[in-house]
């Protein structure tokens, strides 16, 4: 019609790309080398901030000064033991659920409805936080390298979230080509940092960073003694390193055959890389002594401080480390974009979330879930000012709740099936469940006031929302259920045509109304004056209209109300009737559409959800 106007659908096409047919949905399998970066980016990326988070608790909150560095490695070892327990438990999940066994599925199958909903809610919250935390940490890596970007931290975060959202709406596949380079680059840069750093420390006498900043010196000078409370708090901060390791268990079907074997090997590799680099970074941090506070006064990340010291200034290696960190963190955020929509669609399929989350968009992705995730993460980043440390207390609760339920589910499964050697496996799952639930408890208790109360409130609330959505769907289903011997009733059909003046459109609308074969046909017009009425009636005569014409005096110049009152009255006349309201509507080009139909629109809006009322527009296209 008009080539110059860019229609909304053209705009969408420009951003999202051209639609993909359902039949083109491809299930490509991943080899181990490719699967590792795809699934591990989330878990491994947490090394970028886990060490720093432990340090913040010791330095800034516990105020134990230099002692912090001595406690760094013991905490890291505890975290790695936890990692080993969780991984050994997840290996069993992989073999038990080769079709993908996230916490939600495992607890649904083994523990029942309520635990599965807790797991589902926890994981959804966790995915939102993964995006918020990873993007914030990625941006932190960038602003550490380019100090003048510091004031724009939040804007950068939201910008990147928007970009990732858009890329995912375009149907960004978890392709190795995209994931492999940044992930391997990050692993290499970490390895290089640790090896070069430790080499320089032990063989070239590289000393700790000389902190000249008075604020940093103040932090270093504190001399409180370490309490159990802060030790546990530091441990729970370090435990965020474990986030994302459930990804492999979720995605078993994506592996090459034999899926469980490949998946479990990949999981072990991932755990080894994660554990080694985390420990390595902690040892290095003990020697190099970077410093960081919880209020964000020190703008440079601990990793950046170490890289600067090890590489002797801001050279190419420093920038490579920063960009690799940024890259893997953005990828980590991206994995949540695959997981969140998938999990929400599974929950929606079980009738606990709105059906819309099952809709796949033009590019065969769950668009609504992706958009929701993007918005939720942006809100979080905005609310917490894009500061990683502020988001961390919210993070670990969901993760460890998910872990606990998943492993407890496995324990129940082992007891039920009693496969050969089940006792040993049940023991591992039991230890895993006990440890992770203990950690979840610690996180809630020691970080309650820091923000852990938010998931502690949000997760049960989400569960209630799930249940009420489910109740609604069940109610609708039982209402629509066809009982034995049900026959749809024959109803008295009254058709009302709304008439403004007699014109071609009205003649067509009346003709259409007659074709509905109503029991009663009535044309209704609200007239402002008796002259108007006389003209209408004479025209009605002139064009040989057969329908009865009713004119209503417009006492209060309120067209919509007069018509609605009349329809209410008509409805009251019969108890079993159904009323069809036929509205002739002019359709013109979009730029002149607003000149028409304002009253028709108002009437339609009021009638749309009325019981026993059908509203029909007869379009009169003006060419």
């Amino acid at each position: 019609m008009d080539e110059m106007v860019i229609s909304p659908s053209a705009l969408k096409r420009f951003f999202i790309g051209k639609p993909i047919a359902s039949s083109e949905d491809q299930h490509h399998r991943l080899s181990k080398k490719v699967a590792l970066p795809v699934f591990a980016s989330d878990a491994i990326s947490s090394t970028a901030y886990a060490t720093e988070e432990i340090l913040i608790v010791f330095m800034s909150l516990a105020a134990i000064g230099m002692t912090a560095y001595a406690n760094l490695v013991p905490i890291s070892i505890l975290v790695i033991i936890l990692l080993a327990i969780v991984v050994s438990s997840y290996r069993q999940t992989i073999y038990a659920y080769p079709k993908g066994g996230g916490s939600y599925v495992v607890s649904r199958e083994n523990l029942g409805r309520s635990p599965s909903l807790v797991a589902g809610a926890s994981m959804l919250v966790d995915y939102i936080l993964t995006v918020a935390v990873s993007v914030s940490a990625g941006v932190a890596a960038i602003v550490s390298a380019f100090q003048n970007l510091v004031p724009y931290r939040v804007e950068l975060c939201i910008g990147f979230i928007a970009l990732i959202t858009l890329a995912n709406l375009r149907g960004l596949k978890e392709s190795g080509a995209l994931f492999a380079p940044p992930t391997y680059l990050y692993i290499l840069s970490l390895a290089s940092l640790i090896i070069v750093g430790l080499y320089k420390v032990y063989f070239q006498d590289l000393g700790p960073i000389d902190h000249t900043d008075p604020y940093a010196q103040e932090l270093l000078a504190t001399q409180k003694s370490l309490t159990l409370f802060f030790f546990l708090k530091a441990f729970s901060s370090g435990a965020v390193a474990l986030t994302g390791i459930e990804a492999v268990a979720d995605g078993v079907p994506a592996f090459e055959k034999p899926e469980p074997k490949n998946a479990s090997k990949t999981l072990v590799w991932m755990a080894v890389i994660l554990g080694t680099s985390f420990l390595g970074l902690s040892v290095l941090a003990q020697k190099i002594q970077p410093i960081k506070d919880h209020e964000g006064n020190i703008k440079i990340t601990a990793l950046a401080q170490m890289a600067e010291q090890v590489y002797g200034g801001r050279n190419i290696f420093f920038y490579i480390t920063q960009f690799a960190t940024f890259g893997i963190l953005i990828l980590a955020a991206n994995t949540a974009y695959a997981d969140f929509p998938r999990l929400s669609s599974i929950i929606a399929k079980d009738n606990f979330l709105p059906r819309q989350l099952m809709n796949r968009g033009d590019r065969l992705v769950f668009s609504n879930g992706i958009i929701f995730l993007g918005i939720a993460a942006s809100v979080l980043v905005f609310a917490f000012g894009g500061i990683v440390n502020a988001l961390i207390p919210l993070y670990a609760v969901g993760v460890f709740t998910g872990f606990t339920l998943s492993q407890f589910g496995m324990l129940v499964r082992h007891r039920k099936l009693k496969e050969p050697g089940w006792l040993v496996r049940a023991f591992f799952s039991g230890v895993g469940a006990a440890t992770t639930s203990f950690v979840a408890g610690i996180v809630v208790v020691v970080k309650f006031t820091d923000g852990a109360w938010i998931p502690a409130v949000v997760i049960p609330t989400m569960m209630l929302i799930f249940l009420s959505i489910n109740r609604h769907y069940l109610r609708v289903r039982s209402f629509l259920q066809i009982e034995e011997g049900y026959v749809a009733p024959r109803r008295t059909h009254t058709v009302v045509v709304l008439v403004g003046s007699v014109n071609k459109g009205v003649l067509q609308a009346v003709k259409y109304a007659e074709s509905l074969r109503p029991d009663k046909l009535l044309a209704i017009s609200v007239v402002g004056s008796n002259e108007e009425k006389a003209k209408l009636e004479s025209n009605w005569e002139k064009y040989k209209m057969t329908a009865e014409l009713e004119t209503i005096s417009d006492d209060f110049r309120d067209l919509t109300d007069s018509i609605l009152n009349r329809i209410n009255e008509l409805d009251d006349e019969n108890s079993d009737d159904i009323i069809t309201v036929v509205i002739p509507e002019f359709v013109t080009a979009i730029r002149s559409q607003w000149l028409h139909n304002q009253s028709a629109l108002a009437i339609k809006a009021r009638l749309l959800y009325r019981k026993n009322t059908v509203v029909t527009s007869v379009p009169i296209v003006i060419e």
Partner: protein, 117 residues
């Protein structure tokens, strides 16, 4: 639900206002109010014309009026006529006839009438 019931309330207010106005208008006459009219008894009722309906071609032509005196509505049917001079929206009319009930509605068929202006 909220919006709709709110709308209903506002509607009722408009209608109440109108009913009050009509009651005031018909106070001077000594007619039976529509709500008090007895079925199958010759009665004089009056009201303002609120709606008119014409049946142009289906069978016998007829003019249907709905009158309102503030206490209620009555339908007045004049069969065999296409229009009645002087009978228009907003005019007051007195009808002298036998009301009967069709469903909930009071209907008077072919009464004698007087235009009140």
């Amino acid at each position: 639900m909220g919006i709709r019931s709110f709308g209903k309330k506002l509607n009722a207010d408009n209608q109440t206002l109108d009913a009050e106005r009509l009651c005031e208008r018909f106070k001077e006459y000594d007619f039976v109010s529509i709500v008090d009219s007895t079925c199958r008894t010759r009665t004089k009722i009056a009201g303002e014309i609120k709606r008119m309906r014409i049946k142009p071609r289906s069978g016998i032509p007829a003019v249907e009026l709905v009158i309102n005196d503030g206490t209620g509505e009555a339908t007045v049917i004049f069969s065999g006529r296409k229009s009645i001079p002087g009978v228009d929206h907003g005019k007051c009319i007195m009808v002298d006839g036998v009301p009967h009930k069709v469903g909930d509605r009071t209907v008077v068929l072919n009464p004698a009438y007087t235009l009140l202006g």
